[in-house]
């Protein structure tokens, strides 16, 4: 999995989060006649959920692409037997 695939994965995850947060079954929890300092909970919930989603979206796009720390991946590959000594020499 390379960096841009991970970024793509972030979006898929966020999309599902968005669907969960903004559509009915979950929405039912906040669909009640109650207020927090005068403001209906449904209103507060919808705008807060929306803002959180946008913030996460900003993080997902703006955070640098994850990269394997140098040498770590190779060491792991060697430990798992994916790289043999000959290959290493060849490269």
């Amino acid at each position: 999995m390379n960096g841009s695939e991970i970024v793509g994965g972030r979006f898929v995850a966020l999309f599902f989060l968005g669907i969960v947060l903004l559509t009915p079954p979950f929405l039912l929890i906040f669909d009640r006649s109650a207020e927090i300092s005068g403001i209906p909970v449904l209103y507060i919930y919808l705008f807060v959920a929306w803002a959180v989603l946008i913030a996460l979206l900003a993080l997902a796009t703006e955070l640098p692409k994850p990269q394997q720390r140098e040498g770590e991946g190779e060491a792991a590959a060697r430990a798992l037997g994916y790289i043999s000594a000959e290959q290493e020499k060849a490269s």
Partner: protein
Amino acid sequence: MLQGWFIIAAAFAYLCVLFAIAYWGDKRAAEKRSIISNPYVYTLSIAVYCTSWTFYGSVGRAASSGVGFLPIYLGPTLTFILAWFVLRKIIRISKVNRITSIADFIASRYGKSSYLGGLVTIIAVIGIVPYISLQLSAVSDSFTVLTQYPVVAMAEKVSSVPIFADTAFYVSLFLGAFAILFGARHLDASEHHEGMVAAIAFESVVKLLAFLAIGLFVTYGVYDGFGDIFSRAQTTEGLAKLFTMEGAGGYGSWVSLTLLSMAAIIFLPRQFQMTVVECTNERHLKKAVWLFPLYLFLINIFVLPIAFGGLLHFPQGGVNADMFVLTLPMAEHQEMLALFAFIGGLSAATAMIIVATVSLSTMVSNDLVMPVLLRFAWLHLSRRADLTGLILTIRRTTIAVVLLMGYLYVRLIGDSYALVSIGLVSFIAAAQFAPAIIGGIFWKGASRAGAIAGLGGGFVLWAYTLLVPSFARSGRLPESFLLDGPLGIGMLKPQALFWLEGLDPTSHALFWTMVINIGLFLAFSLCSSQSVVERSQAVQFVDVFKRTATGRHTWQGRATVGEIKQLLARFIGRVRMENTFSELEKSLVQVLPDEGVASVEVVAFAERQLAGTIGAASARIMLASVVREEMHDMDEMLEILDEASQVIEYSRRLEEKSHQLQSVSDDLKAANFQLKELDKLKDEFISTVSHELRTPLTSIRSFSEILHDNPDMSEEKQNEFVGIIVKESERLTRLLDNILDISKMEAGKLEWQLKVLDPKEVIEDALAATAGLFQQGDNIRLHTDLPDNLPAVHVDSDRLTQVLVNLISNAVKFCDMDDGTVWITAKAKDGALCVSVRDNGIGISPGDHEKVFKRFQQAGTLETQKPRGTGLGLPISVEIIVQFGGEIWVDSEIGAGATFEFCIPVASDDGDGLPFIKEGSTG
């Protein structure tokens, strides 16, 4: 102060500022110092999504259904989360193919079909008319309301005033002229309208600031913050129900509006124009992905406070909730704020109208009118010198017609709908494009037939379930049409089609149009076959990220470069043509003389340039007229075949390889089997040899021991025993010699001294060597039949002698004890010398014929008979005869004696020596 003239002057001034910005943007673009090429302007230009619907309509919707307005903005947020997968791909495809509109996109995907392009254009134009009418009605209403200042009163019903007294009419004319000046002033080859984008971005800032200003004023100026407004609403009768989802129209409506807006944010023609066509750099999308939802969030924060503020402020009704944004500052005597609100609303409306009409006019000219005109050969259009004028006329006319249609719609449906309801009609029309586009970019199997059927079916249902009812509602059609269905057929009630009741009209229409659209799209795609062009376009669209964006080699004609240049000049102007061609020459690093034949690259380049101006479908027709050849289907087919055959080639090679491996493994298996067999034979050989060696050794040892232990044995006895020891020793020596021979032969180490010889001499030598055997007892007779003229053979004389001696001694051994006869016969037969040795002994049963030629195997059973040979004589003979190129076999039956016969090919002419022994040369 807020008289009509002042408002008009303010609006006019505002529009002049827009022009200035647009002019500046175009100028900077020409200088290649773009002001719009950054993610922020890009985001603001996408915010053309927020129109009068958002600015005025959201508040109206919130006043009647609480959070019911919100899905329209949550949907786009969800879509933008997936922009990485969907929008990025659409943008990339559009850049590669120089797509100029949504109709162009769909037509291009489905085999550059001009029919499909036309269909999409028609749907887009008709579908967007209600949306444009929404803007017109909002502008004229807000203007009328504002001119009443400080009285808060609503405009009269538009339908009740004559056209020439109707504000909406003048608004339409004014905005039409404005849109023409803006979007169709001149023709741009690249179809990038940088000036327009800059102006739209500016408008997005204005409308956001205006709305936030009103919001802050209402929330904190008129009331005491959010909590205050909602607490007051809580205590007001009838308003608390808006606090829950029940007031928002229920969950069904919530979900369907979310889905609808998810589609609209991409597929509304103006969104496609801004997000895709005007996108200057794919990377800008990355920031827009979260900045655009943030814009939507900001512009929606104060919708609910303003709505409740309005409801609280005008409890007696009579004030249209759609106008709260304007009427609240008016009621509070905030002249300037009210004017700012009006300007904000105007900016929202004008932005939408400009972009929508520009994108529609591009579609109408590129995908509807031009393809039709170009098909009429009698117009000689493809020969006309300059078509830019014609194209501009078409576009300007389109803009005017679309705005007038919008106005007509306003008058027809009157005030029977709220702003949002009108807009939703257009949203569902735009959503009809979703299956064809989403299916088209992710599924290669999506076909033209599927797209046409889906779009057509969806559009017809849209018209029936939404457009027709809007006329019926406003009294233009009898009301019974809605209530009882056409001709009283209940099943066909437009808003309860097939008895589907209980859904709001939007969800109802969305459900039916999508069921039919997606259903037909899939069914026809799965049941129809794609043409060659379609197939290649499908691959190009779906695999856009896998392919390089080079021109495709689909044209092959006999046009000259000059002709291509002329064609381009007609559409994009001579100067621009010269510029683009010199750029092309630079990139190809070659000079293109006018009289030279246009290469595939040049024609493909021209096609892309033309596609930018007149759309993909028209560009094809135009080029075909110049290249004088329909597009080479053959070429395209070959290219596709090429791909297919490559795949086939790979699989063929794989198959070959696996066949090879299979045969190698078979060989290996056979070799392994042979090795095992040989190993077994070797073991047997060793054990047999040991056994064979032990027998003589045992007897030598035992007789020696007897001699040793009995010194006083009689001399006669001693001699007898010593004789046995000598005989057994000889046998042992013979045995070892034979073993050495056979192992040498098998290892190929034996040296053969091949010479051309007279066989008779050899046979006589052998007879001489075995003469002693016949003298032992006189009861064995020898018969020989050796003709003089035997053919010469190419053999090793010693070895052949060895064979003969072996055969003869065997014959002597096994012939009749009492009256033995041995016959030796030699003769020439079929180019071979055949020698047979026959005896009249006990014979060999046919089952043992093969066995006697094997090592240590003798006829009869070893257990009962004392071995009378080494068991290696015949195997050695076989080896020798085979070495000479001959054969040896036995012919015998039990009790009838045995005939051993071998044949050796006679020496050939080119052999070293005489082919035949001359007669009489031997004595």
